[in-house]
């Protein structure tokens, strides 16, 4: 235990770096994925091919994706920005898919009531559809965040920093304690993120369920 305590500054610094990677990627993935998911519900013919393509991208092994990105101009190279791009790519699918599914799951009678009362498309989206789809969208963001926390450890391989640095270093010098000093905080972050989003989801879905409690 004193081993970890003595390295607390280093571990905290890498944890902070890790969080920055994950937060940046998740925020950008939400900013792209939610509007894209909305668009897919408005253009149903696009939904199948685009969701299918996103599923395929998802199957690319993460280490390979980091490798692919390195030679690309602008977004590629060694370092943090490349890692964030890769994390966005992975975070996008659950957010896109859940936004689409969440909006599709809103009771059509309620959507029709909103239209029939004279809401514009935009009002209906912001006032009715997005709030009602929010628990499902949040579940997508939760999955994306938890994945990103795990994947970001691999991003250390392309020099992005984060808790992966400790893990790689531990592997290199065959030191289990060093590996754990990266792996345990990463696992804790993932659990904390999962718990936080689950709580938000439950709170909100209690608000919006139709049935009597």
């Amino acid at each position: 235990m004193s081993y970890f305590w003595d390295r607390r500054d280093e571990i905290l610094a890498y944890t902070a770096q890790h969080l920055v990677l994950v937060l940046a990627a998740t925020v950008i993935a939400v900013a792209i994925g939610v509007p894209a998911g909305v668009l897919l519900t408005r253009r149903p013919s696009l939904a199948r091919p685009i969701l299918g393509f996103a599923e395929v991208v998802q199957t690319i092994p993460s280490l390979a994706l980091f490798g692919f990105l390195i030679p690309l101009p602008l977004i590629g190279g060694i370092g943090t920005s490349t890692a964030i791009v890769a994390l966005i790519v992975y975070a996008l699918l659950p957010i896109l898919r859940n936004t689409h599914a969440g909006l599709a799951s809103v009771d059509p009678a309620i959507v029709e009531a909103a239209t029939g009362l004279g809401m514009t498309d935009r009002q209906r989206l912001w006032w009715v559809e997005l709030p009602l789809a929010l628990p499902v969208i949040l579940a997508g963001v939760r999955i994306a965040t938890v994945w990103s926390i795990g994947l970001a450890t691999i991003a250390a391989a392309i020099g992005a920093g984060g808790l992966g640095v400790l893990i790689y270093r531990g592997i290199a010098i065959v030191d289990n304690r060093l590996i754990l000093s990266g792996a345990v905080p990463a696992a804790c972050l993932a659990l904390a993120a999962d718990g936080l989003f689950s709580l938000l989801e439950r709170r909100w879905s209690r608000r919006v369920t139709r049935e009597r409690a």
Binding site: A109, I110, E112, A113, A114, T115, G116, L117, G118, M119, T120, Q123, W127, V128, P131, L132, R207, V208, T209, R210, E211, R212, A213
Partner: protein, 246 residues
């Protein structure tokens, strides 16, 4: 003579080529009149209703509201002038009762005090005092209460026309009876044109001034209860009548 509130002129509409949902519908609803469209499911009654607020568009023929062809009225503006009640209320589950009722006034940018005053008025009209029910969410209400909120929401902006699609269809007989009585009470106070869709002929006779019996996209007979009962136009109406009285 003033123009009727709603007028259908030889309206046709089909979803699939072979069987039209509406096959030449002509009907008018007077400015303070309640007309019920009644018939078996699939007879086109709900289709007719949705043509009025342009949730659907006719293939041919015209629908006039207040003398104007709805095809020339911007749908969003049109809908804000027409009350709309649907089965089970169609309330927004994430909004409380007051917010639901104030939907259209908010769309029309009424100020808060005016919205609140109006919500109080219409909610007391449906026996749900704002002070007691305003902050409740739809899931905390019974089916009958939800449906009342749906009616209050439709009346909130004081529209000259109210469309009601099976408004009391999902309720148990006791709640249904109570809501029917309330309907008659506010109908007596407010001079509104009401177009009501129901599959229940007894309810149609009770609530409406005139009843249009529909089958397969056509009107078989239009008239008051007495007119239809005394002189059913054909076997279909006769059969429908005998089913309703049992």
């Amino acid at each position: 003579m003033t123009a009727p509130a709603i007028e259908f002129i030889d309206v046709r509409k089909s979803y699939q080529a072979e069987r039209p949902a509406l096959d030449g519908l002509t009907l008018s609803v007077g400015a303070a009149e309640a007309v019920a469209l009644v018939g078996p499911s699939g007879c086109g009654k709900t289709t007719a209703l949705k043509l009025v607020n342009r949730l659907l568009e006719p293939d041919s023929g015209k629908v006039l509201v207040g003398g104007r062809d709805v095809a020339n009225v911007e749908p969003v503006a049109l809908r804000r002038q027409i009350g709309y009640v649907i089965q089970e209320g169609g309330l927004f589950p994430h909004w409380d009762v007051a917010e639901n009722v104030e939907t259209v006034p908010r769309l029309l940018r009424w100020d808060e005090a005016r919205r609140r005053r109006r919500a109080e008025e219409v909610l007391s009209m449906v026996q749900l005092p704002l002070s007691e029910f305003g902050r409740r969410r739809p899931r905390e209400l019974s089916g009958g209460q939800r449906q009342r909120v749906g009616v209050a929401r439709a009346l909130a902006a004081d529209p000259p026309i109210v469309l009601m699609d099976e408004p009391f269809g999902a309720l148990d007989p006791i709640a249904r009876r109570a809501l029917q009585q309330e309907f008659l009470a506010w109908r007596g106070q407010l001079a509104k044109a009401v177009l009501l869709v129901t599959h229940d002929l007894a309810e149609a006779f009770l609530l409406a001034d005139r009843v249009a019996v529909m089958d397969r996209g056509r009107i078989r007979q239009v008239g008051t209860r007495a007119e239809i009962a005394a002189n059913p136009a054909d076997d279909f109406v006769k059969e429908f009548l005998s089913g309703a009285t049992s």
